[in-house]
Assembly symmetry: C2
Homo-oligomer: 236 residues x 2
DNA sequence: GCGACGCTTCGCCCAGCGCCGAAGCGGGGC
DNA sequence: GCCCCGCTTCGGCGCTGGGCGAAGCGTCGC
């Protein structure tokens, strides 16, 4: 455990409405500009700049300059996992309203860059149940059967192993709507990419003019349901 | 996801050094008095009282009056899980020092009231691998084989099912040192209680005069290592 | 019943932070 | 070269909130 001071410093970064809005917007895994984030948070450019500086300084975000824009993204999937978890806690502490985003969001959605919701949890269980992945130091490793099966599905295992942004090959991420883990890490990312590339998952149109969760919504296509069922026994 | 305002309100409760110290102290699962918590946080009684009021109001703590004392404890294991997770994130954001608590704390420790660390993760994997527990709505349920096996070990399944404090029978709790889940819920609590009762786990003496993690330290006894090995194939 | 003790409430002070408007810096478009 | 645009820095304002000492309330011990 960190010192209380270090712990509080990290938590305090999450404990501001404007910063929370920015971080939630970045949960889609995309990189957004300072201006977009200012609009999302409903504040002016100077205030947004100060917030973003603190988030970067604190290690929660990373920046990428491109021309006169500055693109911000979550620094790691650990950050995404912590935000998801804290969101789940906050929801359970104020239970007045029921599930606010419709059952579809609970069934399948994007968490940072991997699949979450009931489908994400089912995929995780299927991979473990068929012994396609096995416990390894710091997460999971693919078994021989898993490498063959995933390759047959079209998952780019080389890309999954390429440790971009210091990520693990595969590790667990707690699903706050299901209270069971789904798969994160490079493998989680590539599985999601594969499903999107092959149109097993699609992105439904936004539900409103400024739908903050639009980028995270997913939908299982008929073909996706069929292929996932026959390949992994997953009922989407 | 909650609104940014609700999310930030919850995070802000964790984002103060004094409150963080209190919450970390309560991670042992015990109930502590306001005075003890004030001492832990290094603040006076009035300040502690104000902090505790806010934590209770925010749903993170629950209070129990007994005579002239007021005992505070974490309101739920979801709160404990979120604190653990945020602690792991905070550690990973400031990686200068390596593991500060010794390898023993990483091997086995108490998380709220269940077993965490490498042993906790190994137990979770063993229960799933032997199909003693199976996925169920909102967590895990014990299979017929699991009921028999756990009962033979001496785990009080009736107590585990008794949903004290609105807890699930069994669900996952992310282990921040291993990045894989260990078992929480009523079953997790009763397994830990069973191991302590049968002296398979013991509490080592505190490492210093004011060891904040003393109540969470655990150690596997020789008999415990033998019994866990033969019953579940777990190498402690 | 009286004092000791645990805790809370009240009153107050001060630091930190979140916000904005104005100004400054740098990149791109024309 | 000019201006537009995205972003940052600076200066100033207002408020929240965290801290303490003093006082009040309820409980326990004798």
């Amino acid at each position: 455990m960190p010192t209380p001071a270090a712990f509080a410093a990290t938590a305090a970064l999450l404990g501001d409405p404007a910063r929370a809005a920015m971080l939630q917007a970045l949960l889609s895994g995309e990189a957004l500009t300072a201006g977009e984030l200012a609009r999302v948070a409903g504040i002016g450019a100077p205030a947004a700049s100060a917030h973003l500086s603190r988030l970067v300084e604190g290690g929660l975000l990373s920046v990428h300059r491109q021309g006169r824009h500055r693109y911000h993204r979550l620094a790691s999937e650990e950050v995404a996992a912590a935000i998801e978890m804290l969101g789940g806690l906050s929801l359970s502490l104020s239970p007045p309203r029921r599930w606010p985003h419709g059952d579809a969001f609970r069934a399948v959605r994007l968490c940072y860059d991997h699949i979450a919701g009931r489908l994400g949890v089912a995929l995780h269980a299927a991979l473990v149940g068929r012994a396609w992945i096995a416990p390894a130091d710091g997460g999971w490793a693919a078994t021989a059967a898993g490498e063959a099966g995933l390759d047959a599905l079209g998952v780019d295992l080389d890309a999954a192993r390429r440790a971009r942004r210091a990520r693990r090959f595969a590790c667990d991420c707690m699903d706050w709507s299901e209270r069971r883990p789904h798969l994160a890490g490079g493998l989680g990312r590539e599985i999601a990419a594969c499903c999107l590339r092959r149109h097993w998952l699609g992105r439904p149109p936004p539900e409103g003019p400024s739908d903050p969760l639009a980028r995270r919504r997913l939908r299982v296509t008929p073909e996706g349901a069929r292929r996932l069922k026959e390949a992994l026994g997953v009922a989407a």
